[in-house]
């Protein structure tokens, strides 16, 4: 059985027929070929697949594509504008907030959600706000520094 969905992804309207069980992350990766959203655990524990759905961070491995019908999705590919990286992307680069890069797209989108709700967070608030996203490389310190720097620059 196929189900029709219409989703705006990074500002572009998309219409497809999908299996009802298709996960949003697989829709993004396999149907739209937007592979920037990574799958780390398939069980919503690591946060690597975090995207913004109508501005809110969601773990796209536990959202069905049909649930996203009618919504607007922002993935990591949609953050840079006119060839210029988003302030969070710049800050992660500047502060060495990434190593292997696998958690980075989800981490940045979770941080974007955090900053949109709390534009001037404390260090503790950043750490708490990102506790749904695992990073095995950086020890988080430079990620936290990057989010604080991005908040400063906004």
């Amino acid at each position: 059985m196929q189900w029709p969905i219409s989703i705006t992804v990074n500002g572009v309207g998309q219409t497809h027929e999908v299996e009802p069980r298709l996960m949003l992350v697989d829709y993004l990766r396999d149907v739209l070929e937007l592979t920037g959203t990574n799958i780390g655990c398939d069980t919503s524990q690591c946060g690597a697949c975090t995207v913004l759905m109508d501005g809110q961070a969601v773990k796209s491995c536990t959202v069905l594509a049909v649930q996203a019908d009618g919504s607007s999705i922002t993935t990591i590919e949609g953050l840079a504008k006119n060839g210029k990286m988003h302030p969070l992307q710049e800050a992660f680069w500047e502060k060495h907030g990434l190593q292997c890069g696998f958690c980075t797209p989800g981490m940045i989108l979770a941080a974007e959600d955090l900053l949109s709700n709390n534009p001037n967070p404390s260090e503790a608030e950043v750490r708490h706000g990102l506790e749904g996203n695992l990073c095995r490389c950086t020890g988080y310190q430079n990620i936290v520094a990057a989010v604080l720097a991005a908040a400063e620059s906004r």
Binding site: T75, A80, W93, E131, C137, T138, G139
Partner: protein, 786 residues
């Protein structure tokens, strides 16, 4: 123009990761590709009576289903051990089990389908008749007489017994000791959990009989040799392996894995591109796991604080089979450095590698060295307590003095360089140690359980001298390879045999190249992780990239500079001996006449234009080099932690963490600091949170990220880090490894801090992880607790 080494250059590789353009294996998509899912044993030990694949094969969208027998019949040979200790037993490790499964996760069948979803559906339709067998999961229990035998011809489940050192000297030290410090400890099993799950994609070209395999590997060349010579048998020149971007490794992507063979074999069998990506549940049960040592240790001590000997017995849990480098970790990477930073005459240890019904163990960040340094640093801490000495003072009293390097230890190896007082001096200053102790006393006076723990550590790293590791058991060489190609316009492509999984090689290796020729960082491209473009290599593990990979660049660059000087001399009509290669400015000039010069780009162009070359000179400007070091390198560190234990809940709060590391000459301070940060936090995971728990049936109880507690952002504090630089005399750059030290040193540092906090309660030792429950229980049953 140049002088990039020593600067915190922003990472060249970052823009693609930041914008979702990482080249991970799971992103490889090929036309006509089919997907593999693997049926895993739900039992830790069982006989397979039969496998019925009919229903699975009949499902719409299923292309094929294969069992272990199909693979054997199709010419696939079992996995091998690449490190072989004397008399080591390596029972066959089939990619898919034939008649017996020996751990939960052991492969049983492989389904190929049009989509990953259908492949997963089909797994549920395979019917396996298992006859469940008894299970042993603990290494000490497995060696007992009468324990069940997991493999044929392996009495007491022992794969190998590896003694090292001078037993007589050790016994003499203990006979003459004023005090003997004894400790039994468990270095718990850990699951690496790189955030990128393992994956493999294979494409067979039937016309040319060529295989291309994308794989999440830390060493594509070694895996290619293994697959060519031992498992699938595709000739090496017809087998291309690529590991473009790898999303974290930490040793777990070091071994050659069954799935690499399975995917390649199926792609050839079906003549169709094939993809497999592990689920996280699969990662938990099939990725190589780390540590899992049971150790009895003792330290010989004189009343004045002089340490005279150490004696170690360790039972290392190898899991159900010997993984590719599984037998290296608890032997040459463990016992060789059990005397740590300390000078002592009586050093002896022995290890038993033991089979159990658990996932195979192998390298996990630190790999053998967190185990050794933890043992010695816990013993030294207990020695200080025994003598009521300050733990730093007792350490200083026993350090190998700075003027005795290179220092031949009583066992096998020689430390290249060190200045252990220097890192402790800096640590004492950075941490304000005396004040920490005063504050601790004030807190204790209030009845609070505050602890301060220190540890020094060193790391045998930079694998390594090929002749030495070959004599100890390694099947392959341990040199490294660099191929430096200067293009006609003076741009440079470096092909290196090491390959990052997040360490930033594209930046640090470019920094080294830039300084060799005096060119811009942006004029350099670093290529790795592809056997077709990089001729040879041994990959990245054991903190070897800088110490072994970078010197090969220097050797190749020297050849290029020599040729460039010869050509420049010819073009400038000067004597070759008078030519100076200015590595700061990127130009070649005549000594004493700097205006008589040619830019590096001009010489490069002339080398390829070949209009006017000296007689006998071939066109072109490129060189490769193999670097086989004379020794390992030995970075070292001194760290301190302040923790507080909540007496009511047992919760440990890490209040301050300060570290000083010395990895020789630093190429990029930002990246080096990042390596220490990440390493320390992984170790915080080991000390406070993480443990792979198998129940008595061999079921992994911690098989998800909900059950296996990885450190999250709000579990850890900001670290305060400092560095000293004691160059290594081993290599021309003076560099040592840094990838693992944080993981090695934080374990004893924090464990010592917690034990220091609990000392007033008479608690001597608790095994990690020091969870709230464990600490609370200890407090309840302690003499002064409750």
């Amino acid at each position: 123009m140049s002088n990039y080494v020593g600067t915190s250059a922003r990472r060249i590789e970052d823009p693609r990761f930041l914008q979702g353009q990482g080249r991970y294996v799971a992103n490889v998509h090929l036309p006509g590709m089919a997907y593999v899912a693997i049926l895993r044993s739900p039992y830790a030990h069982a006989k397979i009576n039969s496998i019925n694949i009919d229903k699975a094969a009949a499902l719409e969208g299923v292309v094929a289903v294969f069992t272990g027998q199909d693979l054997v019949d199709g010419g696939l040979n079992p996995l091998i051990s690449g490190w072989n200790n004397p008399d080591q037993k390596n029972p066959p490790y089939y990619q898919l089990a034939l008649d017996t499964v020996r751990y939960v996760g052991d492969g049983v069948a492989a389904v190929v389908a049009d989509t990953a979803y259908i492949a997963d559906d089909a797994l549920q339709l395979i019917e396996v008749d298992y006859e469940v067998l008894p299970v042993v999961v603990n290494a000490r229990a497995a060696v007992e007489d009468g324990a069940l035998q997991i493999h044929e011809d392996t009495p007491n489940n022992i794969s190998f017994h590896w003694p090292l050192g001078d037993q007589e000297a050790m016994e003499k030290a203990f006979a003459e000791a004023d005090h003997v410090i004894e400790l039994e400890l468990v270095n718990q099993r850990l699951i690496p959990n790189a955030i990128e799950p393992r994956a493999a994609v294979a494409q067979w070209n039937a016309m040319n009989e060529e295989m291309t395999l994308w794989t999440t590997s830390q060493h594509v060349h070694i895996t290619r040799v293994v697959m060519s010579a031992f498992t699938i048998g595709i000739p090496e020149h017809k087998l291309r392996l690529l590991a473009p971007d790898v999303g974290g490794g930490f040793g777990s992507k070091l071994c050659h894995y069954a799935e690499e063979d399975i995917v390649a074999w199926i792609a050839r069998e079906l003549n169709q591109p094939i993809k497999w990506v592990a689920t996280r549940s699969e990662s938990f049960v099939t990725d190589r796991q780390g540590r899992d040592h049971i150790t009895e240790a003792r330290l010989a001590l004189m009343s004045d604080g002089t340490i005279t000997g150490i004696h170690i017995k360790t039972w290392a849990n190898m899991g159900a089979y010997v993984a590719l480098v599984g037998a290296l970790i608890p032997t040459a990477l463990y016992l060789t450095s059990i005397s740590g930073m300390y000078k002592m005459p009586g050093v002896f240890g022995e290890v038993w590698g033991v089979f159990t019904n658990t996932a195979p163990t192998s390298a996990y960040r630190g790999a053998g060295r967190p185990e050794s340094q933890y043992v010695v640093e816990r013993l030294v801490d207990l020695a200080a307590r025994q003598l009521d000495m300050d733990p730093i003072e007792l350490r200083r009293k026993n350090f190998i003095p700075a003027d005795e390097f290179p220092y031949q230890t009583p066992v096998a190896i020689a430390y290249d360089s060190g200045d252990y007082d220097k890192v402790f001096d800096k640590l004492v200053e950075l941490s304000n140690y005396d004040k920490m102790r005063q504050d601790q006393q004030a807190a204790r006076d209030e009845g609070r359980l505050v602890g301060v723990g220190v540890s020094g550590c060193l790391e045998l790293c930079g694998l390594s001298p090929s002749a030495l590791t070959g004599s100890l058991g390694f099947a392959v060489g341990q040199w490294e390879f660099a191929d430096v190609r200067v293009h006609p316009t003076g741009k440079v492509t470096l092909h290196t045999g090491v390959q990052p999984q997040g360490q930033g090689h594209e930046t640090t290796f470019a920094q080294v190249v830039a300084d060799e020729f005096g060119v811009n960082l942006t004029d350099i491209d670093v290529v790795y992780g592809d056997t077709a473009t990089v001729n040879q290599g041994n990959g990245t593990y054991g903190s070897r990239s800088a110490a072994v990979g970078m010197p090969a660049i220097v050797m190749a660059a020297e050849k290029i500079r020599a040729k460039a000087k010869k050509l420049a001399a010819h073009l400038l009509e000067a004597s070759e001996e008078d030519m100076v290669f200015d590595q700061d400015e990127g130009k070649i000039y005549v000594k004493g006449s700097p205006d008589q010069s040619l830019g590096f780009g001009e010489v490069s162009f002339a080398a390829y234009a070949a209009h006017n070359l000296p007689e006998g000179m071939e066109p072109g400007l490129e060189a490769h080099a193999y670097y086989d070091p004379a020794n390992f390198t030995y970075p070292f560190a001194a760290h301190i932690a302040q923790i507080e234990v909540d007496r009511d809940t047992g919760e440990v709060t890490l209040q301050r963490y300060i570290g000083v590391d010395d990895c020789g000459v630093i190429i990029n301070p930002m990246i080096v600091e990042g390596q220490v940060m990440g390493g320390v936090v992984q170790s915080i995971g080991q000390v406070l949170l993480e443990q792979a728990v198998y129940d008595e049936n061999g079921q992994l109880l911690t098989g998800s990220m909900m059950d296996y507690a990885l450190p999250r952002a709000d579990d850890v504090p900001n670290l305060e880090l400092g560095f000293t630089e004691t160059p290594s005399p081993v290599n021309p750059l003076g560099v040592k490894g840094i990838g693992e030290m944080g993981t090695i040193v934080a374990l004893p540092t924090i464990a010592n801090a917690v034990m220091d906090a609990l000392a007033p309660l008479g608690i001597k030792h608790l095994d990690t992880p020091l969870t709230s429950e464990k600490v609370w229980q200890a407090i309840q049953s302690s003499e002064n607790g409750g």
